[in-house]
């Protein structure tokens, strides 16, 4: 599903590479944590998988597509198979929960009819039934992140990328979000989560890939944060 082969990413102004000769493969349906301290290169992996940046060396393959040789007009279609959740939610403040989720359908050309059918379903799935018409500022942090998860999942992506999704949430709310990601993973969606939240990693007991100074130092099937 996802394959990084000897990937090095060097930013022009940085003294050392953000990612240094990283090789890792992720199977379909896996749940993988990328852990490590700030600046270790975790978020660089998310950007590489989204094709927001290109590796300096090495190849990135997602959904059997080599990203290095991908034409720019293909990128948009490629991203439709990937859902993405961030620490800062990235919701549109002037749109309701329903509209935020529907926006993701609207801009890739789905009809209103599709949105009316699918959006309430997915909002129900993330536990926001009845709150469709609230604006982001009327929702708690956890609820906002649920909206973001609903938006990421509404297109039924093959892969869900989560970049520190619990970074702005209290421990209890974080656990709720993790349950939600776990449910999504059980539907067959591959989940890749970048985090430095040790409690969550230790509770979930899923595959852990640890990065330090851009190098992969550990890859454990049922790992803990340690």
């Amino acid at each position: 599903m996802i394959q990084l082969d000897h990937v090095t990413k060097r930013y022009p102004t940085a003294s050392r590479p953000a990612l240094d000769d990283a090789t890792v493969g992720i199977e379909k349906g896996e749940f993988v944590f990328f852990i490590g301290p700030s600046g270790s290169g975790k978020s660089t992996i998310v950007k590489l998988l989204l094709h927001e940046i290109r590796p300096t060396r090495g190849t990135v393959t997602v959904n059997a597509e080599a990203l290095g040789s991908m034409r720019s007009w293909r990128i948009a279609r490629f991203r439709r198979a990937i859902g993405c959740v961030f620490q800062d939610f990235r919701l549109l403040p002037n749109r309701t929960a329903y509209e935020n989720v529907a926006f993701a359908l609207e801009v890739i050309g789905k009809t209103n009819a599709v949105a009316r059918r699918v959006v309430p379903e997915v909002l129900e799935l993330v536990g926001l039934g009845g709150k469709e018409h609230r604006y982001p500022h009327e929702l708690s942090g956890g609820e906002q992140q649920r909206v973001a998860v609903a938006r990421a999942f509404v297109n039924r992506p093959l892969i869900l990328l989560a970049d520190e999704p619990t970074g702005n949430l209290d421990p209890d709310t974080s656990i709720e979000i993790m349950r939600l990601l776990d449910r999504i993973n059980r539907t067959g969606t591959t989940v890749v989560m970048v985090t430095h939240d040790s409690t969550i990693v230790n509770q979930m007991r899923r595959r852990v890939v640890e990065i330090e100074n851009g190098r992969i130092v550990r890859d454990q099937p049922h790992g803990s944060y340690a």
């Binding site: 007009w73 948009a76 279609r77 198979a81 990937i82 801009v107 050309g109 938006r151």
Partner: protein
């Protein structure tokens, strides 16, 4: 639904920055008015050339002491020349009569001219007025000819004045176009900034590039189109209020501007306004919205 979304975004975009939008429309309209005036003048000069060249003639003034033989020789040469369409011989008396008629408003001038002051001449119309140089070469050195005058040269001076005005209009048009297109760039930049959240989400969920860019480009094109409509209004008003009004005296020199030419400016200006604004907007986007 996508179309509705795009059009809605265009309207919101134009309204969001309305003062800037108006400034851009005015600047573009001034530029396009100049462009239109210049294009009209170009068409006009072409039309006037056709009009005047049809009437133009070459005058061959003969010397005082020309012999009958020399005169007959010139006449024969003109008759034989393939360049000549028409020729008329004018005696001194006829020249005087014509002079008196032409300057009947200035009796002192008329009185000052004695019957034998004006030379006799051949008035020749050429098949192709541009073939003047070849024609003079054919006659060069023939005895009895004092001077060959081409009226085209006089007209040439008039046309050069028109060309200079046309060039000036084009220069003003280009300078204003630069200002207008910079405003387009600025408007698109502001629009892209105020919609940065939407754009980021659109890219994230895989909206196609054209879908992200279309509202911005259409916004620029709509403003450019509005500018071109203003410019056309300006040209139309200019013709009705100035050329058909106080400046009507000019139309004795200029042939009238046909309405067809004026209406031709509408699609021309619309295409130029919408096209350049759209391209300027699109280029600005290339710098502000990356995939």
């Amino acid at each position: 639904m996508r179309l509705k979304y795009v059009l809605n975004e265009v309207l919101i975009g134009l309204w969001r920055n309305i003062t800037m939008t108006i400034a851009m429309m005015i600047t573009l309209s001034v530029s396009l008015t100049m462009l239109g005036a210049s294009a009209l003048m170009y068409l006009q000069v072409g039309q006037m050339k056709d009009f005047y060249y049809a009437k133009i003639e070459v005058s061959i003034f003969l010397t005082e002491d020309i012999t009958d033989g020399q005169r007959a020789g010139i006449d024969a040469a003109l008759t034989a020349s393939p360049l000549v369409r028409d020729k008329v011989y004018e005696t001194k008396a006829q020249a005087l009569a014509r002079f008196r008629k032409m300057f009947r408003d200035s009796p002192t001038l008329v009185d000052a001219v004695r019957p034998d002051t004006l030379p006799e001449s051949f008035r020749v119309k050429l098949k192709d007025p541009e073939a003047y140089d070849e024609f003079t070469r054919q006659l060069a050195g023939r005895p009895g000819i004092q001077l060959i005058v081409d009226q085209r040269e006089v007209l040439g001076k008039v046309f050069r004045v028109f060309s200079s005005i046309q060039l000036l209009a084009l220069v003003i048009a280009s300078v204003m176009a630069v200002a207008g297109l910079l405003l387009v760039g600025n408007i698109i930049q502001v629009a892209a900034y105020s919609k940065r959240r939407e754009v980021a989400v659109m890219k994230l969920v895989g909206a196609s590039n054209w879908f992200i860019q279309a509202p911005f480009v259409l916004e620029a094109m709509a403003a450019g189109l509005a500018g071109s409509l203003l410019a056309f209004g300006g040209l139309y008003a200019g013709k009705v209020l100035l050329l058909d009004g106080p400046l009507q005296a000019l139309s004795k020199l200029m042939t009238p501007i046909p309405d067809g030419n004026l209406w031709l400016m509408l699609p021309l200006l619309a295409a130029a306004g919408a096209g350049t604004s759209g391209v300027a907007g699109w280029i600005t986007l290339r710098f502000h919205i990356r995939v």
